[in-house]
Symmetry: C2
């Protein structure tokens, strides 16, 4: 089979052995993979990563002890937890200190013809969800995580900063919960995707309002975003931090303290609400796809995904 | 009368007019004032402040329309709110956007023989609380604010970073709520004060534990404290930000996001719980006093308060 390999900032497509299946694991044939900003950061060498990246995928189960999974289309939670520690017992395996993470930490990723994951990580994808939509379940779950972390009431005004892939998903997820979502971005074209979901968009460059929102979601992917988000939050407001920036972020602590603002780090989420949103077509994810390329052209796909203005680039499994 | 005056980083004691009493205000004769780190920052010129500082005080009401206040010993909430806006209606006048702040923003401070505050800001001090203890009500209320912002269960392990004045108060307040408090500091002498209240103390220099606490209070007053606090918090843990540092603070956003840590800015608090703690002798504040000097020696007092190792320096009103 072929597999994408990252090393020394290079993306290669190599021949590799089809993976063995440890007990409790399934072997999955890749249908679609999605290139995420984290993959681009792995490529840039920020985490000393080498190996096969990829954690957004939909695939078909080709080997499993579980008959309910065999030959089914699945998506998979990316954290491989120990299933024994306190975190795992609380159902929070995604914070298990012993976890490995698909395509990020000590478990080869999804950008290969066949991948493995524990059967317990897999969710069968309803037939009504296309491959192209299902590949968004993982980032959509990350967007939904905000709803698990805070009780934001219907009708609340929420500012989302950043019109990248994650910002567009978050804006739509919050809009689907009937919040008044204001998306601040820089790309008219990208923001149209959110507008079609009923999100109000504001082109950056205009002065952003100060102390204007009880809820601000920072998803700019830049190190300046957090300071801006803090400035836009009202006293006692909450800022969700969604941009993993690899450089240290300088913030002015004084307004956080004086205005008693809460900053909430927010990462992966449960897959169920994301699958629900897709099944009932409450969000439009396929408009976020800029291009789909075969797995064998991963190098080109990574280069494309890194370009300004490009949204989601998919890799298609070998058919 | 005499009044302390800050200007161009200089502390002077000047003759000044006894203040007029606007409607709804009381005139208060200063008994004791406490020099806070914020006062030292005002002196250093960080906020372009000039005028009379001082927001920690106890005084005696000498003029008021309210007979219940006349001749009584009082402490006063420092935020002078508009009493009309949404914040004020919610009882959160300390976030009123139109507020002035005693000795900090557009209202002359307490370090003068006679000061003014709205009668609504005043709390009568029970006879059982000495002047020396009552002057701590304001910083003690700031320490208590943590209890209003989060529901930390009895018996929870809480780390407090910093053995300065505020750190010692916070450690004692949390201990009085029967939490297991671990105070991390640099001064054996200062930490003894918290030890006597049943706080476990850990001298810094030893490696601090990583991912060890659900609750961490950052009160170091330094720009490095926040990163350390984040490192010590467990996944899904909460860090309270209590250090107003005037320089930008550089943090690594990645662990905040990956571990879904919540950072809570925390400032002033309600006076009632602080008065309660003092009345029932649940905290020991007078050990935190390093020295008391007369108002006329404010310059010396400010210089002393800025010295390493010195805790609270009080100013005594003219008798």
């Amino acid at each position: 089979m072929i597999a994408v390999h990252l090393e020394s900032k290079r993306v290669e497509v190599r021949k590799a052995r089809r993976p063995q299946r440890p007990e409790g694991f399934a072997v999955i044939r890749l249908l679609r993979g999605g290139i995420c900003n984290t993959d681009l950061e792995l490529q840039r060498g920020y985490y000393g990563f080498s190996g096969t990246p990829g954690h957004e995928f939909i695939g078909e189960v080709v080997e499993s002890d579980n008959a309910d999974l065999l030959a089914r289309r699945v998506v998979g939670e990316i954290n491989l937890a120990c299933r024994k520690c306190d975190w795992c017992r609380k159902g929070l395996g995604r914070h298990c200190p012993k976890r490995s993470v698909l395509g990020i930490v000590r478990h080869p990723g999804a950008f290969r013809e066949f991948l493995t994951l524990p059967e317990a990580n897999l969710h069968v994808v309803p037939n009504s969800i296309s491959d192209e939509a299902a590949v968004f379940v993982e980032p959509l779950a990350a967007a939904c995580e905000i709803l698990d972390q805070a009780n934001i009431r219907r009708g609340s005004e929420v500012a989302v900063l950043g019109d990248g892939k994650l910002g567009l998903l978050i804006a739509q997820v919050l809009r689907a919960q009937e919040m008044e979502v204001h998306l601040y971005g820089r790309h008219r074209q990208k923001m149209r995707i959110a507008e079609r979901a009923g999100v109000e968009t504001i082109l950056a460059g205009k002065k952003t309002p100060s102390s204007a929102y009880d809820w601000v979601i920072e998803a700019t992917g830049s190190s300046e975003g957090l300071g801006e988000a803090i400035r836009m939050a009202r006293p006692r407001g909450t800022v969700f931090m969604k941009s993993t920036v690899h450089r240290p972020v300088a913030i002015d602590a004084a307004p956080v303290i004086v205005n008693e603002i809460t900053l909430v780090g927010s990462r992966c989420g449960r897959f169920e609400p994301a699958l629900n949103l897709l099944q009932f077509r409450r969000v439009n994810v396929t408009d976020i796809i800029s291009e789909t390329l075969p797995l064998s052209q991963a190098r080109r796909a990574f280069a494309l995904a890194a370009k300004r203005g490009v949204l989601k680039v998919l890799l298609a499994g070998e058919s």
